[in-house]
Every structure is written in structure tokens, then in C-alpha cells.
Amino acid sequence: MTRHLRRYVAAASVLLGALPAAAIAQQATTISGRVTSDAAAPLPGVSVSIPTLGAGAYTDDKGHYSFTVPSTRAAGQAVQLTARRIGYTAKTVTVTLSGAAITQDFSLGTSATQLTGVVVSALGATERPKSQLGAAVTQLSTEELNGSTHEQNIMQQVEGKVAGVRITSPGTQGGNVNIVIRGQNSLTGSNQPLFVVDGIPVSNASRGGSVGSGRDYGSTISDINPEDIESMTVLKGPNAAALYGSRASNGVIVLTTKKGKSSTGRIRTDFTSSLTFENPSRLWDFQNQYGQGSGGSFAFVNGAGAGDCDGCDQSFGPKLDGRLIHQFTDGTDTTVKSPWIAHPNNVRDFFNTGRTFSTTAAASGGTDRLNGRVSIGADDINGMIPNNRFTKFSTMLSGQFQVNDRLNTSATAQYVRNTGLNRPGVGYSNSILEQFFWFGRQVDLNALRNYQQTSLANSPNGNREFNWNYNFHSNPFWLQAENPVTDGRDRIIGSVSATYKLADGVNATLRSGSDIYRYNINTQSAYAGPGASLTYNGAMSITSDYFNENNTDLIINGNRSLGHGITVNATVGGNTRRNQSSTEAQSTSSLLVAGLYNISNSAIAPTVSQSISRRATNSVFGSAAFTLNDWWTVEGTARNDWSSTLPEGANSYFYPSVNTSVVLTDAIPSLKNSVLSFAKVRGSVAQVGNDASPYQLATTFSGVSAKFNGQPQYSLGDQLANAALKPEITRSIEYGTELGMWDSRVTLDATVYQNQTKNQILSATVSAASGFTSKSVNAGRIDNKGYEALLTLIPVRKNRLEWTTAVNFAHNHSTVAELAPGISQIQLGGGLFSDARTVAALGQPYGQIQVRGYMRDSATGAIMTSKGLPLGTTNYLPMGNLQAKWTGGWNNTLTYRGVTVGALVDVRHGGNIVSYTNSVGESSGQLASSLKGREIDWNNPGIVVHGTDRESCGAGSGVTATGMYRCVGGGTANSKNVNSEAYFQALFQNMEPYVYDASYVKLREVRVGFDLPSRWASRFNANAVNVALIGRNLGLWTKVPNIDPEFAYSNGNAQGIEYGVVPNARSVGFNLRVTP
């Protein structure tokens, strides 16, 4: 690898050294002026430049700019001077460079959407006018990203704002954000987009939990401080992203950081701070009529089974009528009794009001040749659950140095320290809410707060928990305090870049960047109780992840006029990518001395593990865009990758793309009228290849670190390798239009697309009897097609009142078109008790939900019963799909004088979800819905299942191949009355009643902002000071009972199955922003 790098460096130095030094100007033409908005406010940070000469400057905080053009290059010619800033419509004027000073002012109008702005392209090395792009690109400015509310993860701030980008919030604070653009392309691989910061790919690795267990450690993109981001460009598919390489098949999120600007030596500061308070947005509807117990009875003796159901954890016990019963709070003397009453808020009271304090301060400035920016950000979050805290400290330093007229250099460095304490668990085993699905409705939560009481039953010694139940559960406060999980990530993202002007309009950029982090996770489990074995004095684990990716690019970009109104923008370049990641873990299930969490304190041989993953890709790429008279552009791109993960000799793959765009209103000026101001059509065809993950070419033995009586062990892996893997290929075609009407008060950006990913590298399930559970194969194809649109309206704009409303809408239809031979489906995610799963089923949309349901009479469809209880199938039945029919967002901004009111509504229509919260919550008797059929007298139970009694079917009856029941003779209707407890417990493993329509409408964001008077702002040495009230997740409308149907328990493809998800935080608070 170093050999390659050296070659690169050598090649670059030859290139740079061979070129003549820059000519020194004798006399110069100075161009200066002021840029203001329509409203005559000064606009800082506007780029004013003469593109053909590569000369220009940014405006300062008063809107002034100034730069000089050497006289050798300013010999009386007329040139185009352009002023542009994201969020505003660019303007271009022609000036003649005569040697005399030129003053040129600009007044820029805001653009509701960036139909005509510029976007970064060619891997961040250059900018292109958006009007010339042949594929859908959405750009969000810093105002759109950060101007509304504050989230720690920048992707959460994009929710509902970009059509076709489906962002799923984590259920937990600090958790994973799942992002899917235009549907899932990969059956079993990643469907997450590539993140690129200033041209350097950065990690968005995640450590997520699963429905079964685990903690959600979030995704690493949350390290990026949103306040450091100038703009975000969403490249939605292969068409826009082909040059970004194989990881671009799921789209690319391009982030451009804020930079220092020429400020004539003054320091520009900006500052933002917010304080918000969080509460669970939704908790379940509990029943409060019956307490712990079974069959209506309960007696506490030791909480572990010595009394009648005192080791049980369901609430089918005695009615909560105030009768006196010996309870866990009453000590060991069983003659002591307390009133048996409900504690309706015993779950809600577990949650605290969370508090998030977030601040970023930045300073920037510079001269026309040298500028820089430094920022410091800090987040401090006290979570909603006790003893849960996150902190993030980030700094960023970036600088640019124009060495001479030809050589421009820049560098950025970010350091992030991200820590978590007790990140919420998700899924069955670790979810903090699991404690409350199996709970006594009579339990007084406050009695549990002092979890170490020593004088009561089962707590004879110190530091042992006191609880309502000692059989299955721990005291939740004990868990949070005594079994802490801490994690910390130290991360450095850095890049250096040098751009050399080879000739007018031709630049060579050499850039190298790395993303490096180490992530440590420590878990501790305290000695929990009297039952623990003699050697068990607690447990611990330490896990350490290391990640390092370096990308080095050489890119030559040229922009030339070919005459006859044709200009060409061409790029040629190469990239080497080197990635190494590793995980080391040590754990012990038994400590020697209690309270000392050091692996050397292990009472038994610790379990250790190590895994290393290395990969590399070399690439060459090129593109050429020809533009005729600024209205017709045809572009072709091509890239070839050589990957380390594919078989030698077959590891090269080529992927081309072609796109075109026509600005109709420029091509046919007569189209322009008082209504239509801008019209563009575009089309694109692209192909992207993708390689395998490492080490899939040879089957290997796995070592087992724990020796068996000192004996080493090896076991052959369960996945059969494939030495003949091929790259997978995504093909995409899209058409779009961008329209501006009524002076851009109405804009529409719409796209239709079709994607096809084939030869997918996937792990295909094979018969385990082969000795392997799966095999790496090239098989399968997913087709995605859909449309998306963003319609922006400014219905009101007068008397300083402006109302902007934007609606985005996306529909995607996926089809699993092919799978491996002989395979009809691939499992994506599994339920808790082998009773629900999500699959990619042949011919179906990606993510079919299958559950075990009611066994029905194959002739009549009636539910079959046995002894009055419904029977379930042992096989899975298709029950919906996790894909939404459509998703959309509705964003409103109302400004009047210095007041801005914004509101964002996020909609999902269609798709399904399976909820274990509802299933388990009913079978455990916790939920209000489990009151069905409960009577005061347990001898007079109340549920008669409407169905057919299986025992009444005639000879020859039996289960059919589809899992239904052939009832010979038709049988007789069930008439047996069963009690509520038996009924709901009989539904265990029958998830049919718990599949829901996952549609929802959410009031995602509300913001009310006030611009302080400018004289106040000037006291801060700033242009504007804004104070805002902000709120997130304020309202939810859904048909799904008890839970929020929008959630992600992992960053993977296993979505659509819910268990005990911690509800989204509803947050309200304040934000202060000082803009220089």
C-alpha cells in the first residue's frame, strides 16, 4: 500500500514541479462592490468571481467584496462576473477589465429551491451549475439544516425534508438513524448511503441492537457537528453518484463544511446554543384494575416462587380494590399487610425529564490568500431514563492558503470525543421497558428507588438489590445504577488538499483524507443477589473497535470553451481506498472481588476475541460534460474499480453513466412568460458495480478462544465461501423536470426512476444438512421504481409577510425479482419467539412480514379452537409488508418582520409493523386491552372465541400443507367460555392480531424564532441574533395502539418488528443563534 502511495506522490511532484511558476502581476484591476438581498440587507459569504480567470472573493459581514486581477490577464477583455450564494439566485454581469477600478454591486433574490444554484461535483473537487445536471440532486443549506431545530445527529434534521429519502429515527436517544434512499437495493447488504465530508468518505458504521437484545450505540455519522456543516447535497441514486464509486449505489450524502472567508483581517464569530427538555412522546395504555398474579390469586413470600405466583410477572392477579395483602414492601413478617391498590403511573414515573444542552462557537476570518475557521462544539444530554447521559465534544479546524495564483492548498481536521453512559437497551433482553412489560400493576415504583434496602426479605446483605420480584427481573433502578454500560469514541477526521492550476480552467487536485476512530465499550454487572454462585461477584466486558479509512484522490478538472457556444467540463482522476477495522473484546461472566471491574479480576478464564477486516480498492475515473449555449448539457462518466475482495483476475469492474439536461426556457425563450419562468428536463442512465465484503472467497475454521479444559478448539465456519464471486451491478434510469413559475413563487422538482440491482452478493440459505447454513452467491435482483416530487409555494409575499410552504412526496415500489436458484425467500429479520419475520420474498416488495397466525378452517375461514382457545399455525403466513405506500413531508415557514414560525409535518402512509409490545403486553396482562373478558369472579370468565371446535371435526381432519385445518364435516361452533388470562396466553406465538398498519402523521418540528433588533446584534459584533422556541416530535397520529410505529431498532435491513421500543423523545426548548 505504501508503495502505491509513494508512486502517487512521485507522480504528483513531477506534475507540479514541471509546471512554470505563476506570473507575477505588474498592475492590477481591482473589482469591488457590495452584495445585498432583495430586502437590502447585506449578504455575507457570497462568492463573487470571474470563473474564466479563476479569480474572486467572498463578501464580508457587511456584504463587501474586493479582489484584483493582474493586468497581464486583464487586457481590456469583457468577462463574466458572477455572484452566488446557496439559497439565492445567482446573478452574472459582464464587466470589461480596462485597468481602472470597477465597482459592481449585486442584489440577490432568494430562491425557494435551488433550481439554479451550484452543487459540488466530481468528488467535491469542483462546482457545477445545477441547471446542467442530468440527475436528481437535492441541496440543503445550513439554514435548512440547522435553522429549525437542533438534533445531535445531522440526519435527524433532514427528516421529512427531502423527497424519497426515508429517515427512520431511533427509538432511543443517541441511537441509530436508518436512512434508505429510493428503496432498498440490496437484499442482505447495506442499504445505507455513502457519507462524504469535503470529498472524503467518512464512516457511518453502526452498532445497533436487535429485536432479541442489545444496546443501540448509534451510528458514527452523529459525530459530525451539524453546526460545522455549510450544506448537504443528497445524491439520490447511481445516476448522480456514479463517480463516487461502488458505495454510491445507495446514494451519497455530500457534506460541505463551513470555511473561513476573506474578512479583511477581522474575526467573524458565530455562536449557537440550545437547551431543550425531553419526555417520552408516547407510553402505553396500562390497565389498573388487576395486580400481579395468576388466576386471580397472589401471595408474597419471597418474590421468587415461594408464595402463590410471587415469582410470576404477569398481572392477572387479584382485583386492585384496596384489600390488604402482604407485599414486597412489607418485609419478611407475612402478617404485615398493605392495601392492594393500583399505581397507574408506575411506568411513567420511571422516566425523568431529559435535558439537552448544546453549544457551538466558531471563529473564522482571513485575507484574500489565507483564511481559516475554528469551531468548538459541546453537547451534554441527560437522558429520559435514569443515569443515562451522553456528551459530545467536537472541534474543527480548517484553513485555506492560496500560495500563489496557481497553487491553492487547504486542510481540515476534526476531533470528536463522544461518550455515552447507559445507552438504552433495545429488544427483549436489554430494553429497559422489558422490565415493565412483565410487571405488577400494583408495584409502587417509588419503593424501588432505594434499590439497596438491606433489612427486607431477600436483601440480607449490602449492595444487593431490593425488588418486587426475584425470579425473572431486576430492579430497573438497580440496573441503571449498578450495571452501567459506558462507551467512548475518539475520532479524527482530517484531510489535506492541494489544487494546482495547470492552465486557465484546468486544475489538478491531489487530496488525501483519513477517518480514524477508536471506540471502547465497557459493561459492568454487579453482584446481583443472594442466589448468585460463590464465584460470581459480578461480570464485565470490554470491547474496542478501531476504524481507519484513507482515501487519496488525484483529480484533474478542466473547463474549456470549444467555440460555437459549446463548453466542456472534463474530469479525469484516480482513487485509492484503504480500509482497516478491527474489534477486540474481552469479557468474563464471573469476577473474584466484587466491585472491581478489571479483567485481571476475573474468577474464570476470560473470553477474548479479535477480528480484523482489511480491504482496498483502486480506481480510475473520468467524466466529460458538454454544454451548448448554457442550456443543453450532455455528460458521460466512467469509472473502473479494482477490488481486493473479489477473486484475483476477476476483481475489475467498469461502470459508465450518461445524462443530459435541457433548460427549455433558455433553449426556447418564447416559452418564458409571466407564468413560466424556468423549465428544465433531464434524463440519466447509470450503472454502478459493487464488490463483496472481505474474506468471502475461502471457507475457514474459527478459533474458539476459551479452551476446553485447556484444549484449543477449532470449528469450520457455517458459511460456505465462493471462490468465483462477481461484482454486483446496479443499473438505474431516471427522468426529471424542474419548473419555476410565477417568478419562482412556485417551483416543482419531480423525478421518476427505476433501479435494478442484480448479481447481488448475498449469503443464501442452504440446507443445513449440507454442513453449512449459507453460501456466498451472486444471485438475486431487486427492482425499485418510483417517483418523487418537491413542490414549493410562496402563497403570500407582501408587506414583509412571507409564507413558504413546501410539500415533498415519494412513492417507491420494490420487487424482489430474482433470488438464488431454489430459494423463494431470504430472511431479513426475525421475531422473538420464532413467530414473526421479515423476508425478501420472490415477486413481493422487499420486506414482506410473515407471522404465525390463527389456524383456520380451510373451507370456511373460521378460527379453529381447542378447549375454547384459538389454535395457531406452526408455519408462517404472509401478513403485509414493511414498505410504505408513500411518504411525504409538509414544511411551512411564515416570516413577518423579525418573527419566523416554522412547522414540519411528516407523513407515512401504508406499510405494516409487527408489535411485540402489544403481544407481550396483553399476554402479561399489563395493557388496558388485556382487560377484555376479565370478571370479578374467576369462575365466570368472559371470552367465547368465535370459531370452530377442532374436536368436533370428523375423522380424516388434519392440518393442510398451508397450515390451515381441513375440518371434515364442518365441525360445530365453539361455545366454551375461557378466562382472559388463558385467552391471551393462548395467543402467544400467534402474531396475527399484532400486525398493524404503520401509517402515521407526525408533527416533527415547530419553531418560533425572533430576530433581535440589529442594534442588539451589533453589541455581539454580529449581524443577527435570533432567539427561538423549538420543539420536536410534538404530535403523533396513528392507528397503532400503545407504540410509535416509526422506530428503528437497528441500522440494518431488519426493520418492521417492534419490541419494547423506547418512545421517541418529545423535546421542547430554546435556541440562541448569533450569526456574524
Binding site: Y8, G295, G531, L646, Q711
Partner: protein, 518 residues
């Protein structure tokens, strides 16, 4: 800069880049797996396979969750789903099926391959014997299963959808495999390297592996007696006569001794720690009635009354069970390997051996063979074998009070009666001795219909005790045509379908009318 210059720069860049890109062996070398090798020595692979195999079939899932409950050694006190046969479904039981093939059977196949390549029976012999042991559990539970084409995914034939073999053919091959292994071990050059300490069952002792192979052959021979009495007779004779003979003492028994280091503990206790199970009244009632010394080993007094043992009725409703948690007996401390958060109910068993096959089981096979005149034995020998079976079972469970044992052997329901009543006694004592090996207990119950008290519980969703397990859903998904051929041959994939050897059950001398029917 002129266009020509530009072109030459571009060409230079292109050449440099292609040079980087085309250095392909350097690139693909990065893909050499730094975590795990493509070849591993047979010893460590055998160690892994042996303890995985034992965990699988004498451990939590197959054994304690399913077969020990179906055989009614255990009953479920918290979630009576398997007890009601609700959860005895392919998605649950299929785990053992799939794991067996993809984990330990594959590893054992690798050891057999390596041993064959080195022409060393001390490697392939033990591996093929453990393989034959495990295939017995698989075919007894499911009937026809992949066998002759199993574990060939990475062979040159790359069989990914193996055919299902008829159980009769599997048994034929198991006899042959055990015969071959036993003879090869006897004939091998003792100077060859053996597995040594990597052999965590017999430490490389060839003679003990021969005795295990021959005893296992006797197990399988007796298993098929209802289907093919002549085959059983011939195989019993061959097993008893094979080089090395059969077990002669508890010390010969095939046992895997667990380190008990909290990483590798006897798996039986792991799930007892959930407090989900109690000893079934089908097991406790006769132990109490016969004043059996093993009662205090198999079970603990109830929590509510420490002077009392009480078994739990199988197949009740969850809503009926709350009161039984404290009033029925947990599994004995000797087996309770883990202590729990609700109390310390034993920790003695973490290093207790798991018995792949006991001397007691062999003795009962010999007793039955003798009583029925099979395998060259005669009825006069039956009593001796029967008593040896009980005594070795007592010893195996740590009961040393010889006076009590002698008194037990002489007591009314235990003293050997001979004839068909003797066969009933043998079957019941064998079923009791097999506690902790649910797979064998269930298979023996199916074959002998003893004890006759084993019937579906009152709330079970079917009226008969299952005769087999259902094929895993993954096999329907990825190996359907092979599976369908098996179903066509064997009968519907249902609990009521009987495996090949489970026929003519009424021809068993111990058969009782209405066997296993509620």
C-alpha cells in the same frame, strides 16, 4: 499550457493510475483472512465437535426444552407451551436439526476426512462413532433425514440440497459404521498418533472407543426390534462379539466431563436457572412409591414444604400454574448447575459429566435381550443384567448406600419378576435411569409404551403423545424436493406419523392398549 501538454499530462496520470490499479496480486493479497485459517488440525476440531454435540443433545434445547418434556421427565411450570405441544413446532425444534448438521456433524466430518487422508483410525474412528451417536438422535426424532449426502457442501460434489435417506437405510449404515470403526480401532497400529487430550471423552483410549461403538450398536439393535426382530438379534450378537466387547462397568461409559469453569458447564442447568420446569409427576410418583434412593438426587423437596416431594402434572394451562411454583419439586441439586437470582438451588452439577451412553442403559439392553432370547443371551441372565442396570444407575447418580440399594432391589415392585412383567420392569427402570437424556427416554417410551402413565396433559392441544418432531421450516424453504420425497415415503410431516422402527408397537410385549392416548 497547450492542449498537447495537457494531453501528455493526462496520459501520464492515466499510466500511473493504471499501474496502481493493475498491481492485482498485491491488492488481492489483502483479502487473505487474518482471523481464521483454511486448514485446522483435527484434534482441536474434534474437541469442539464433541462438546457441541453433547450440548446439543444432552443439553438445554433438544433435550430439556423438548424431549424431556415430551417424555414427561419434566413438566413446564411457567409457560406450558411444549407441554401442550403448542411450541413443539418446527421453528423451535428445527434449531437442533440445523445446528447439528452445520456445527458438530460438519466438524466431525472434517475430522473423519483428515483421519482418512492420514489413514489413521485413531482420528477418524472416534469422530465417526460420535457422528453415529448423533445421527441416532436425529433419525429417532425426525425419521427419514439427510444422511448419505449430508455434510458434502464443501466436497467436490458440492451437495447443497442433500437427499433424505430412509430410516431403515440409515440404521443399516449406522450398524456398518460402528462395525467398521470398532474393527479398525482394534486393528490399528498402536504406534499411530491418537487424539490424546483433544479426545475429551476417552483421552484417546482405543479400547474404550471400541466398547462405546459396540454398546451404541446394541442400543440401535434393540431400537429396531419391533420393526425387524431378526436384524436386532443379529446386530446384538455382532455387538456383543465385536472386538473390545461392550461396556463392563461405569468406568467404560461414554461420558464427557465438563470443566465446570463457568464457560463450559454441564448444559443441563443453564435453562433450569429460568425456573421454568419442574420434575413431572410421571417420574416422581413411581420414585416415591418405590422409595427409590434416586428421588433425592433427581428432585428437590418443594419450596413450600421441605419435607415433601411432589411432581407436576404435564400439560396444564398457564393460568392454573401459579400455585405450583412453590408446591412442586425442582430438578435435583446434582443437576442444577447454575444458581439463580431467585435462590441457590444447587451448584454441584456444573462439572457433572454428560453421559453419551451409560453402563446402566447397556445393562437394561442386555436384560431385555436376555429375557427375549436375543443376541445370544437367555432369560436366566435377565435378572443379573437388570440388577446390574439398577446398581450402576445408582452408582452413576452418586448413591453409595449399598444396604438401601439392596433393600430397593428386593422390594415389591422392583424385585425382578421375569417374563413380560420383567420386561415391564426393565423398561420402567431404563426410563427412570435415562433421566437427563430426554431423547433416549422418549424413543424408549415409544418403543416399549412404558411407563403407561405418559399421556397428553389435560390441556394439551392433541390427544396423543407426539411420535416424532416436525421437519424444520428452513428445509421446506431450501431443500423442498428432497424433503417432499421423504414425506411421500414416510407419511405426512405430522406428530402422529411414526418412524420406521416405531411400528408394530402392539407387538412389543410391554404394549398396553390406548398407549399414549388421552
Amino acid at each position: 499550457m497547450t492542449a498537447r501538454k495537457l494531453l501528455s499530462v493526462a496520459a501520464g496520470v492515466a499510466v500511473t493510475l493504471s499501474g496502481v490499479a493493475c498491481d492485482n496480486s498485491g491488492l488481492t493479497n489483502i483479502n487473505k483472512n487474518p482471523n481464521s485459517p483454511t486448514v485446522a488440525p483435527p484434534g482441536p476440531v474434534f474437541t469442539r465437535a464433541a462438546n457441541l454435540a453433547v450440548s446439543e443433545f444432552l443439553g438445554s434445547g433438544y433435550d430439556q426444552y423438548y424431549t424431556s418434556v415430551v417424555a414427561q421427565h419434566l413438566a413446564e411450570v411457567q409457560y406450558p407451551d411444549v407441554d401442550a405441544y403448542r411450541r413443539l413446532d418446527p421453528a423451535s425444534t428445527g434449531t437442533a436439526f440445523n445446528a447439528a448438521y452445520s456445527a458438530e456433524l460438519e466438524d466431525l466430518t472434517q475430522v473423519v476426512k483428515a483421519g482418512r487422508a492420514q489413514n489413521n483410525p485413531f482420528y477418524w474412528g472416534p469422530a465417526s462413532i460420535v457422528r453415529a451417536w448423533e445421527f441416532g438422535y436425529l433419525t429417532d426424532s425426525w425419521g427419514d433425514i439427510p444422511y448419505s449426502q449430508a455434510n458434502q457442501g464443501d466436497s467436490s460434489t458440492a451437495v447443497l440440497s442433500p437427499a433424505y435417506d430412509a430410516q431403515k437405510d440409515i440404521y443399516t449404515d449406522l450398524f456398518k459404521t460402528l462395525d467398521t470403526a470398532s474393527k479398525a480401532l482394534a486393528a490399528a497400529n498402536p504406534g499411530l498418533t491418537n487424539l490424546g487430550t483433544a479426545d475429551i471423552i476417552y483421552k484417546g483410549s482405543a479400547i474404550k472407543w471400541q466398547r462405546f461403538a459396540n454398546s451404541l450398536r446394541a442400543r440401535y439393535a434393540m431400537r429396531v426390534v419391533n420393526a425387524d426382530r431378526n436384524l436386532a438379534d443379529a446386530q446384538l450378537k455382532a455387538a456383543f462379539a465385536a472386538p473390545g466387547g461392550v461396556f463392563t462397568a461405569n468406568a467404560d461409559a461414554a461420558a464427557l466431563v465438563w470443566p465446570g469453569d463457568n464457560t463450559y458447564n454441564n448444559p443441563w442447568g443453564g435453562d433450569l436457572a429460568r425456573d421454568d420446569r419442574r420434575v413431572s409427576n410421571r417420574l416422581i410418583d413411581p420414585l416415591i412409591a418405590m422409595n427409590d434412593p434416586r428421588l433425592a438426587v433427581y428432585a428437590q423437596p418443594t419450596q413450600a414444604d421441605p419435607t415433601k416431594y411432589a411432581g407436576l402434572q404435564n400439560g396444564m394451562l398457564q393460568s392454573q400454574l401459579g400455585a405450583y411454583v412453590a408446591t412442586t419439586s425442582r430438578v435435583g441439586k446434582a443437576l442444577f448447575t447454575a444458581s439463580t437470582s431467585y435462590g441457590n438451588f444447587g451448584n454441584a452439577g456444573i462439572a457433572r459429566p454428560s453421559y453419551l451412553m451409560t453402563f446402566a442403559e447397556l445393562s437394561f439392553i442386555q436384560a431385555e435381550a436376555a429375557e427375549r432370547g436375543l443376541g445370544g443371551l437367555n432369560a436366566a441372565q435377565a435378572k443379573g443384567f437388570y440388577e446390574a442396570g439398577i446398581r450402576s444407575s445408582m452408582a452413576q447418580w452418586g448413591i453409595t448406600d449399598q444396604t438401601a440399594i439392596t433393600a430397593y432391589l428386593a422390594s415389591t415392585p422392583v424385585a425382578y419378576a421375569g417374563g413380560t412383567p420383567g420386561l415391564v420392569q426393565i423398561a420402567n427402570q431404563k426410563w427412570i435411569a435415562l433421566f437427563g437424556d430426554g431423547g433416549q427416554a422418549w424413543a424408549e417410551w415409544r418403543r416399549t409404551c412404558q411407563p403407561t402413565t405418559v399421556k397428553p396433559g389435560p390441556e394439551a392441544i392433541q390427544n396423543t403423545v407426539p411420535r416424532r418432531l416436525l421437519y424444520p421450516s428452513t428445509e421446506y424453504a431450501v431443500n423442498a424436493s428432497s424433503l417432499n420425497a421423504a414425506v411421500a415415503r414416510q407419511g405426512a410431516d405430522a406428530f402422529t406419523t411414526r418412524v420406521w422402527w416405531d411400528v408394530n408397537s402392539s407387538s412389543a410385549p410391554t404394549y398396553t392398549a390406548g398407549c399414549g392416548t388421552r
